[in-house]
């Protein structure tokens, strides 16, 4: 540490204890194990309708046309692992399904973020997973089912092993 704390008090006493209300208001993250997922649920067909209304303008009718980030894999998922990075979509590049809930909930729609209900986010998640051939059309997403979804790209991710020195990685 950059600080010599020998002469420091146990506590400086600045700031205040957080109440559970303080925490609950902000604690919106979703972990891969599903921790943080709210009550609620959504289906592929519900998601399809919401997508058309609130997302298609920016991500394309089927999620491949843009103008912004493509969300749906054009090729079949198996072939994607040959050249990861070519087309970085949910189907071939996203390692965890929970990330989809977390991200849509916190950041989308880009221009009106934070405006979706849990049911809407579950539905959009179900729709996008289905559009990427990950779940079938009857899938229902909720706090129990979402963390169970296996993502094709999961196995591709490896931790960083660079550590300086003469080797280029």
């Amino acid at each position: 540490s950059l600080k010599d704390t020998a002469s420091w008090p146990q506590s400086f006493g600045f700031g205040r204890l957080a109440s559970s209300h303080d925490i609950d208001t902000l604690d919106i993250d979703i972990r891969p194990d599903g921790k943080g997922l709210p009550y609620g649920s959504g289906t592929v067909s519900q998601g399809k309708a919401i997508y058309a209304a609130k997302c298609a303008l920016c991500h394309g009718k089927t999620g491949t046309e843009g103008p912004f980030n493509p969300l749906v894999t054009k090729t079949d998922t198996a072939s994607s692992s040959k050249e990861p990075g070519k087309e970085k979509t949910i189907g071939n590049y996203w390692p965890y399904a929970t990330t989809l809930y977390d991200y849509i909930n916190r950041a989308m729609p880009f221009n009106t973020p934070g405006s979706l209900t849990p049911d809407e986010v579950y539905s959009l998640t179900a729709f996008l997973l289905h559009a990427n051939n990950i779940v079938d059309s009857s899938a229902v997403m909720n706090a129990q089912t979402l963390p169970q979804v296996n993502m094709p790209a999961r196995a591709l991710f490896v931790p960083d092993d660079r550590s300086g020195g003469t080797e280029i990685k």
Binding site: S1, L2, K3, T5, W8, S11, F12, F14, G15, R16, L17, A18, D22, I23, L26, D27, I28, D29, I30, R31, P32, D33, S81, K82, E83, P84, G85, K88, I90, Y93, W94, P95, Y96, T98, T99, D102, Y103, R106, A107, F110, P113, G114, A153, L156, F157, V158, P159, D160, R162, S163, G164, G165, T166, I168, K169
Partner: protein, 388 residues
């Protein structure tokens, strides 16, 4: 413009109608001392924004500090407008005392200042000859950051010894989040509230942000509102779909935090031509792994290399100025620089990087040696490199 004081008024009275309309500045009383300084109207400095980022005009700068209003920008939901009186930071999760800190609380803790670079890990472009340093790698800037060490706050809230990661969350429209190994938080992460002497600028995270020395800019979460201590990473979108890179063999590298050593010659550089004769090559070098120990220069397209002079003080994880005196005889040649850091890492060529990553040249952490072609007519052009 004269100030509205008795001084100003007497002056105004004294200024007669035949006031000399000369361009000789010695014959014209200038504006008196002002409230806030100005930039010369002759200096047009511009970050050249794209939709997603704006870049520091490295070729137009001197020394090693970046003027705060020219600091590069990369954000995922625009720049939030935050009232510092309403600002709060929540620290919770695996802690003894979950706590909320107002800005004034953060400023009361023991403080630290440090000159460091920040760099976006997506800091590379190289597709054509007409590229300036700003366009090639302008997603890096340097400031003196001031704040409280995150370890000081960890100590205050009592972090659980079993914890291993923390989530940092911004209060921008993307509520941008990254998972960070707790160790980095204990080691040297700063919760910064000031930049180059003043409050952090809105574009850089006002009123408070993380600064992780040497780590990719995206981890240095701006407008930070929440830190959750945990025993696992959260696998946020930024650390899965983004800020990961294909490294060959169908593999994708994740949690690639450290910015490897890099350098660029900022003079001579496109778009500024040079003349025959003595030229002081100038540039900056930096490494996320420590100090720059050497910058080597080649003025003959890589056939031989010589050490550049480093501008002291050479600081840890900081842009370091270098210079090299060269006599250009007017023949076409290529000049280039490569940085060496204290771990012995030598800035690689594009081919070395591509080879090491199974042919991948896109993505993040791309820090190849940059070559400038000096044409006989003095034009200076970037050399886009073939992969293999």
């Amino acid at each position: 413009v004269l100030v509205q004081t008795s001084f100003g008024k007497v002056m105004q009275r004294a200024v007669t109608e035949k006031e000399t309309a000369t361009s000789d500045p010695t014959k014209k009383l200038g504006p008196l001392p002002g409230e806030v300084g100005t930039r010369s109207p002759f200096e047009k400095l511009q970050k050249k924004p794209s939709d997603t980022s704006s870049r520091t005009p490295l070729q137009d700068l001197y020394g090693t500090l970046t003027p705060s209003d020219l600091h590069y920008e990369r954000h995922h939901g625009g720049v939030p407008a935050i009232d510092p009186e309403k600002y709060e930071l929540l620290i919770h999760g695996m802690v003894k005392k979950p706590m909320v800190f107002k800005l004034r609380d953060l400023k009361q803790f023991p403080s630290v200042s440090r000159i460091m670079f920040l760099e976006c890990s997506g800091n590379y472009r190289g597709n054509k000859e007409e590229l300036s340093p700003q366009e090639i790698c302008g997603l890096t800037s340097q400031s003196e950051w001031t704040g409280v060490m995150l370890s000081t706050l960890f100590r205050e809230v009592g972090v659980d010894p079993r914890a291993t990661w923390f989530l940092a969350e911004g209060s921008d429209a993307a509520v941008m989040t990254r998972s960070i190994p707790l160790q980095k938080g204990w080691e040297d992460t700063m919760l910064a509230y000031a930049q180059n002497g003043e409050a952090i600028r809105p574009e850089q995270g006002y009123p408070a942000r993380l600064v992780l020395p040497g780590w990719e800019g995206n981890t240095c979460v701006k407008w930070i509102r929440r830190i959750e201590i945990s025993d696992q990473p959260f696998m946020t979108r930024e650390e899965t779909s983004k800020y990961t890179e294909a490294i060959g063999g169908g593999k994708i590298r994740q949690f690639s935090f450290v910015m490897d050593a890099r350098s660029i010659i900022t003079y001579p550089a496109y778009p500024n031509p040079v003349e025959k004769g003595w030229i002081e090559l100038r540039g900056i070098a930096w490494s996320g792994r420590g100090r720059i120990v050497r910058v080597e220069i080649s003025t003959n397209d890589g056939r031989s290399w010589s050490a550049a002079e480093l501008q002291g003080p050479v600081l840890d994880k900081a842009h370091t100025g270098f210079r090299y005196l060269w006599h250009w005889n007017g023949d076409e040649t290529a000049i280039m620089s490569r940085a060496v850091d204290e771990t012995g890492y030598v800035q690689p060529t594009l081919k070395q990087l591509s080879d090491a990553r199974g042919g991948n040249t896109g993505g993040y952490h791309f820090n190849p040696v940059t070559a400038w072609i000096i044409k006989r007519d003095g034009r200076v052009l970037f050399r886009p490199e073939a992969k293999k």
